[in-house]
């Protein structure tokens, strides 16, 4: 199924994929315009671009979720019509989505088989598949326990299941959409080893990411998308992260360096003492967690998503109350017997920028003005007798939008019509505007354009310099390292390590995140 191809000096290689003048429009939005793309067989081709640049649309066209309005797709030199994912699979294209398309309660084997069973008898299909899969896993170093229940596997192995799924369907072209977003640095390295092995055996890989370092590490060629158009395609060796970032954003970017506070000597903003949280299913989410955040310092919580960071934020924001232990926040003692709700937390000057802005931070169907008072809707300034004072709400929203450069600055526009970055800026503006003395920030720049990240980081550091105690949770290690004065690493609900921000290095943090540090360290 996989022909051997010699990789190396590129231009003479046959093309696995050729896109000609692909256009796609959604209503007012031109998602893709005149896309010309050539991907050589047996190479890793990176596609980078900001959110909304059209990466996902383009890949969805290739995988048959959408049809292009115009343009041509050639697979291995042959014109192809891809109307749905079945056509794509038949053409030898496999896709690993950012959010896995796996049935949690199925075994790995069942997930791989799903939709590709070869006979009505499941037992027979499984027996056949088992043989093929064992061969595949060995060939590509893709070891996954085939009989295990998917939900019980670590994310990295779930992702391998997705790759196996594609290979089992004879994929010769593999599209990976933001594959490292959910992985520890070590898991990401493993993934890259697998990708290299695949490439050596002639598989063509398209890697969509916004992490430029990954592009530099692993791709052979890279294309940059901006505003729906391809603005450049380079051999990776001939370009640099700085150049790529500039191409993505369309202007020069300065790298951010913030001064770090090494030993904060302010008073305590948050003091957490032995907090334990057990959820409804009896799982321990937080396990005897203790730490302190002083005023004028940013404490970052590093960790792979799902290791208790979210629960910690929710507890401190009053959304959940701890089962055991207590914490002092802004001078108020909180424990299971004396909980404070989100509303009370706001009143005592604890502001919270939630991790999931679309689920918690704003209401998609509300106007920007309405979303800009979420959590503050009962404040006197926004009300007049029984009624909301829409004029003052709009005026306040416009002020927030100006202060944080939210575009377009139109308070009557629906919240969902703003890009991720602008939604996030609006939420941040709403919370920072209340002059918090304790600030809880979750994933401040998830899905946010590079341009907006600068501003958001600057505003958070400004708050610290204004003597606010800040707790930052992020799955982006780079972000934690850029902003934090002190870094705590969480693993399975416990804090497994503390590192000074000025002394942090990625390898150590990565090992801590996987709880692979020697206890002596």
């Amino acid at each position: 199924m996989h022909e051997q191809q010699i990789t190396g000096e590129g231009n003479s290689l046959p093309l696995a994929i050729e896109l000609k003048k692909i256009c796609k429009r959604f209503g007012q939005v031109q998602a893709n315009r005149d896309i010309d793309l050539q991907v050589q067989r047996g190479t890793i081709h990176g596609i980078v671009g900001e959110n909304g640049a059209g990466k996902s649309t383009l890949m969805s066209i290739l995988y048959g979720f959408y049809q292009a309005d115009s343009g041509e797709i050639l697979i291995n030199g042959q014109p192809a019509t891809i109307k749905n994912s079945r056509d794509a699979i038949d053409a030898g294209i496999g896709m690993v989505h950012q959010h896995f398309m796996l049935v949690d309660t199925f075994t790995v084997l069942e997930n791989v088989l799903l939709g590709a069973e070869q006979s009505a008898s499941l037992d027979k299909s499984e027996a056949n598949a088992l043989e093929v899969l064992e061969h595949l896993s060995a060939e590509y170093q893709l070891s996954v326990p085939l009989k295990s229940i998917t939900a019980e596997l670590p994310v990295g192995q779930q992702q391998r299941t997705e790759i196996l799924k594609a290979l089992y369907r004879n994929a010769e072209i593999l599209i990976l959409d933001e594959p490292t977003g959910v992985l520890t640095p070590q898991e990401a390295d493993q993934l890259f080893r697998v990708l290299k092995a695949l490439k050596e055996r002639g598989v063509t890989i398209i890697l969509i990411t916004h992490k430029l370092r990954e592009i530099m590490d692993i791709t052979d060629n890279v294309s940059v998308l901006r505003l729906g158009e391809i603005v450049s395609t380079h051999r990776t060796a001939d370009t640099s992260t700085a150049e790529l970032a500039e191409l993505m954003v369309g202007r020069k970017l300065e790298t951010q360096h913030f001064h770090k506070v090494d030993t904060a000597d302010g008073e305590s903003g948050i003091a957490v003492n032995n907090i334990t949280v057990v959820d409804d299913r009896g799982l321990t989410r937080l396990d005897d967690v203790s730490f302190e955040v002083k005023r004028g310092e940013i404490v970052g919580i590093a960790g792979v998503a799902g290791n208790g960071q979210s629960t910690l934020l929710e507890v401190l924001a009053g959304i959940q109350s701890p089962n055991k232990g207590q914490f002092v926040i802004n001078g108020h003692i909180v424990d299971a017997s004396a909980p404070l709700g989100p509303r009370e937390m706001r009143e005592i000057g604890v502001q919270h920028v939630p991790e999931d802005r679309l689920r918690l931070g704003l209401i998609k169907s509300f106007t920007a003005a309405e979303s800009s008072v979420l959590g503050y809707q009962n404040r006197k300034v926004f009300n007049w007798r029984f009624f909301l004072n829409i004029k003052s709400i709009r005026a306040a929203c416009v002020k927030l939008m100006q202060a944080f450069d939210v575009r377009p600055p139109d308070p009557k526009l629906k919240s969902s019509s703003f890009s991720g970055g602008n939604q996030q800026k609006l939420i941040l503006a709403r919370e920072l505007d209340k002059a918090p003395s304790v600030l809880l920030v979750g994933q401040p720049t998830r899905g946010v354009d590079i341009g907006a990240i600068e501003l958001i980081h600057q505003k958070i550091v400004d708050m610290r310099d204004a003597n606010c105690a800040i707790l930052l949770v992020s799955v982006e290690l780079d972000e934690i390292m850029t902003l934090s004065d002190r870094i705590l690493v969480m693993f399975e609900g416990r804090i497994v390590g503390t590192v000074k921000g000025s002394e942090a290095d990625k390898t150590t943090l990565g090992l801590m995140m996987a709880n692979a540090m020697d206890t002596a360290a």
Partner: protein, 374 residues
């Protein structure tokens, strides 16, 4: 292609698509009428004339409309909190119990000016209480409100039969209904009110509740979209997690919203019991509670839409009755089938035409501009 995210101009969404849906329903209704050998155009003419042709017809149409506005609003306000209140029928029925008890106890002693407001409050209160139990079960015990409200319709029905047969029945009477209320406390009919200002119209059941229904539309609109309570209601309806984040208590929203919803449904009793029958009797709700679901669906859960949809159903009820009367071959059941088609096309299949219209719209509208969204 997924068209549900593409926005269309308001006039297409709220006028063109509903009108097309109704036309499609009428087309299929026409086929049925053709099949039984009658002339569909003539049938429509009889129906429209029967609903609007003369003052008596208009009176009846608006009398039905009143009920639909109440039950439509009841479903709509719950819907904004993402609660599906199927119990309008039972809440309206129990609302009648409130009115009945008030009048049976007080109509001999209180003047209309005091009795009528108490009756209205009692209708709302009893309706609200009947919605409160399922609401509490949903909020604090996790029983699904769709199931409990359906069940409460049956309980209401049985309870009313028991009370009317065994407790509240007029002594010595064979028919399960209460004594007639003292005429001093009856809600004034529209023809009576109009007669005062010198306009003579034919006697119809249309009464002052119609005005109450319109007032409720304004109040619901203001509550949902213009107050902080409505803000909290819509927030909880859109995202429970966001509501909790914003310091709103979703359980409380469930309770409050269902009580308002139940009260609105209970006001059907104001129209029927205080306005028309003047005694408590069996089954006066006649399915208005269920039709309210269709009304809310058609009216897009907005008071203006609900008024329009209620009017349409008023026309169907009144014009349909007229049609069954004028054309013997078209039976009462046939009229119900036509109503069913309209509900099917405007309610259940409301979005069927949308993808087609989106595509047409994209094809004919001005050229696109490059914009950057999400």
């Amino acid at each position: 292609m997924n068209t549900s995210d593409i926005e269309l101009p308001a006039w297409v969404e709220v006028v063109l698509i509903p009108v097309l849906n109704i036309l499609m329903a009428l087309f299929f209704a026409g086929l049925i009428i053709l099949a039984i050998g009658e002339n569909p155009v003539e049938a429509v003419a009889i129906m429209i004339n029967g609903a609007f042709g003369y003052d008596e017809a208009i009176g009846y149409t608006l009398y039905y409309t009143t009920n639909f506005i109440f039950t439509g609003l009841a479903v709509a306000i719950a819907f904004h909190a993402s609660l599906f209140n199927i119990g309008g029928e039972g809440q309206a029925y129990i609302g009648g119990l409130g009115v009945g008890l008030t009048f049976l106890l007080l109509d001999k002693y209180l003047p209309a000016i005091i009795l009528i407001p108490i009756g209205i409050i009692a209708a709302g209160l009893f309706g609200a209480l009947w919605a409160l139990i399922p609401a509490w079960l949903q909020a604090y015990r996790g029983s699904h409100i769709v199931i409990t409200t359906i069940m409460f319709n049956f309980i209401a029905s049985s309870l009313m039969v028991y009370l009317l047969v065994n407790v509240l029945i007029k002594p010595g009477s064979m028919s399960p209904e209460t004594r007639e209320f003292d005429p001093s406390g009856w809600l004034p009919f529209m023809h009576e009110i109009l007669a005062v200002v010198g306009i003579e119209v034919t006697r119809t059941p249309l009464n002052l509740s119609f005005i109450l229904a319109l007032i409720c539309c304004v109040l619901v609109w203001a509550y949902v979209w213009k107050t902080r309570w409505g803000y909290a209601l819509r927030t909880a309806g859109q995202s429970e997690a966001a509501a909790v984040y914003a310091g709103i208590k979703p359980k409380r929203i469930v309770i409050i919203t269902m009580c308002i919803s139940g009260a609105l449904a209970g006001f059907v009793a104001v129209n029927e019991i205080m306005g028309v029958h003047h005694r408590l009797l069996l089954n006066y709700t006649a399915g208005y509670g269920f039709t309210g679901i269709a009304v809310a669906l058609m009216g897009r859960n907005h008071p203006v839409g609900i008024i329009m949809a209620s009017l349409l159903f008023g026309v169907l009820y009144q014009g349909g009755a007229e049609l069954a009367f004028e054309v013997p071959k078209i039976t009462r059941e046939m009229v119900v089938a036509i109503q069913g088609l309209i509900i099917l096309f405007s309610g259940a299949l409301a979005l069927m035409l949308r993808p087609l219209i989106v595509r047409l719209w994209l094809a004919i509208k001005p050229s696109p501009t490059l914009t950057q969204h999400g």
